[in-house]
Point group: C2
Chain length 402, copies 2
């Protein structure tokens, strides 16, 4: 009998709750069922034409390595884009291009923490943070922060209670995935001050920065703490410009030690993809403000449609998220994962099924979220409405089935 | 005074010896000096037209996420490509698409090893393995295997002596970077058998597989050990098709535990870039055998040119590599890094400078390689010859200068 075994950390890396049921969804689609995908933040909005032009322009006889730090054109265009919107004074020194926000977060975990060190997060949390922690050996310490708390983060006193000698950073996703909550300036200042006082890094995942609703102004944390060496911002084009497949993100920090170390890790993996960087540079240096303005309005309408449609289903509880493009909804079932599985495996309504992400995977606290699902309002209003109608019909059939 | 500190592992991640002097090379280029880049495996060969067509075809209104496992079209085309050449019987179950071979190697390190576990490597080694080990907390154990040993790996007995209770895998790059040595079938069998007997993983980095010279037949290790669950092959399109900037690699294994765990890590980082996967799928399903046949001949000629030109420089020692596109050359200097720095910072010959990689960064043993450089024979014969002529002139000037 072979003793060949995989590592403990590999055993502990959880499957993605967002993509977990993907095989069942594919099987349903293969049976001819139309599958509405509310499980994943994959918008149906068109990518900017400026990006597609950039891809065409990038076609070149030799697809060569980019610099490990990222294309200097892209760094120039992206920092200029941020400086224009938020007046941050970012130069090339503060920016490292990564393969999506995911890689920037992995770099941040590795640079801030040795195995066994801790990062405070707010629970529920973006499920892939749990994956990054397994990979990097970092212990995530969850502070309960359910979406209906009425605030984006717990109080300063509550947060302080969770800081231990092993704590190295606080990580906040703002606007939040999966809850859609948005930190106001006071909440951001609390985090900034606490991190300064306790010598912690503040990692802010601003993937959804521009998607804040009801006339809220988007905020980059550096506006409130210019050049703060405690802060690492993670940014991404995926959600902002409907470019999920481009895998272009970045890390922004004025902390030179962090930047140097992240750069060494970046050198080990050589470089991010060249064509996407060319195209993103072209896009960021030529796109107008209309794209985001229109996209923000569109997501707000989709949010309203989703919230309204969910409110019409008996027994479903939800709320109105302030930003991002997700919300959590509590269903009248014991186990939302079983229900989500049922919906893909056994159910269809008018030829359609809806793929939702069971929310338990977004909670570190295993007692929480069992009855909840995460919904991404990334489909057009008609599809969102129809997809939620399918959930309503599914709940009826599921109740009768058990 | 702030106690904000980066992690020990980040402090330990070394800068890439290949890219270390990149800033000086850029400065030389900015001064108007033509810089021959022999430091990095960035070929000047054209990327296949089938890839570029694939990029153009991929332009699509929504640049959406690919599957975490990789595009099913690409997996189909790549496995078919390998099965055609090596008769391996690979199906989609055995393949995971990664962001270059680099990511596949990081996944392999993490899946095979917990922090503190060991992987045996042959020294000198591909420098970025050292970076991957720092990231993953894996201890690399180096077996001395200098290029002029006359064999690609040490004897079975020597290798066995380095296996400890913490050893989890043997990693071999075949053909080798940086030495250019190629394992013959007996050497591969030794590794296969040893890993079976001692319950170790055998990780084979086959990035340079098709680049073997003097009519040697390229070998995939699975030909000698079909479906062996101990083996993980890492493959890449970067070098084979002059597509370094595409960042498309894969992991191949029949070990279902490894594949499942690697897939969970892959889910955490979502997906590899969509456009490159589309283009690679198009290329692999339509490209003929001419491209590789011609490229192999071209690299063999470049190798011969490089070896001949180096032999003409007094005091330089080198050898004829059997594969890959690198070789190590010993220079008549005390410290090759100082010489490489001199060449970029202070020297030019007929308007040109040559950028070489100091070889010390490729040796785990810090006593070794101080006088050596790694040369990538990735430039056309004329440029290779000229670049080495510049090295010769540089050595003369350096000797006189000291």
């Amino acid at each position: 009998m072979s003793e060949l075994k995989i590592s403990h950390r590999a055993e502990k890396t959880p499957p993605s709750p967002i993509r977990k049921l993907a095989g069942l969804a594919q099987a349903a689609a293969d049976r001819g069922t139309h599958v509405y995908r509310l499980n994943i933040g994959q918008p149906d909005l068109r990518s900017p034409v400026e990006f597609l032009e950039g891809v065409a322009n990038s076609i070149n006889p030799v697809v060569a390595y980019e610099a490990s730090k990222g294309s200097s054109k892209l760094i120039g265009a992206w920092s200029e884009y941020l400086n224009r919107g938020y007046n941050l004074g970012i130069t090339a020194e503060q920016m490292l291009i990564t393969m999506g926000a995911s890689e920037a977060l992995i770099f941040a975990f590795m640079v801030c923490c040795d195995p066994g060190d801790e990062i405070l997060i707010f629970d529920p949390t973006y499920a892939n943070y749990i994956g990054f922690s397994a990979i990097s050996g970092v212990r995530l310490v969850p502070l309960p922060c359910p979406p209906r708390l009425g605030k984006a983060i717990p109080s300063r006193e509550e947060i302080s209670r969770y800081i231990s000698p092993y704590t190295r950073a606080i990580l906040v996703c703002n606007p939040n995935n999966p809850t859609g909550s948005v930190c106001d300036d006071n909440e951001l200042k609390t985090l900034i001050e606490l991190c300064r006082e306790r010598d912690l890094f503040l990692i802010v995942d601003e993937t959804y920065r521009e998607y804040v609703f009801d006339n809220t102004k988007p905020r980059c944390v550096f506006e409130l703490a210019p050049r703060d060496p405690n802060i690492i911002v993670v940014d991404s084009l995926s959600k902002r410009f409907s470019l999920c497949g481009a895998r272009v993100g970045c890390m922004i920090t004025w902390n030179q030690d962090v930047m140097r170390a992240a750069f060494h890790i970046a050198q080990a993996r050589l470089a991010a993809a060249t064509i996407e960087q060319d195209a993103a540079a072209h896009m960021l240096s030529s796109i107008g403000e209309d794209y985001l303005f229109e996209a923000r309005g569109e997501y707000q309408r989709r949010r309203d449609t989703a919230v309204k449609a969910l409110a019409e289903i008996p027994g479903v509880e939800t709320y109105t998220p302030e930003g991002g493009f997700y919300l959590l909804a509590k269903l009248p079932v014991d186990d939302a994962e079983k229900f989500a599985t049922f919906m893909l495996r056994e159910f269809e309504y008018q030829g359609a099924a809806t793929f939702v992400a069971p929310a338990a995977g977004f909670y570190m606290n295993r007692e929480m979220g069992r009855q909840e699902i995460r919904i991404a309002f990334v489909l057009n209003e008609g599809d969102t409405k129809k997809a939620i109608e399918v959930i309503g019909a599914g709940l009826k059939a599921y109740g009768a089935n058990r």
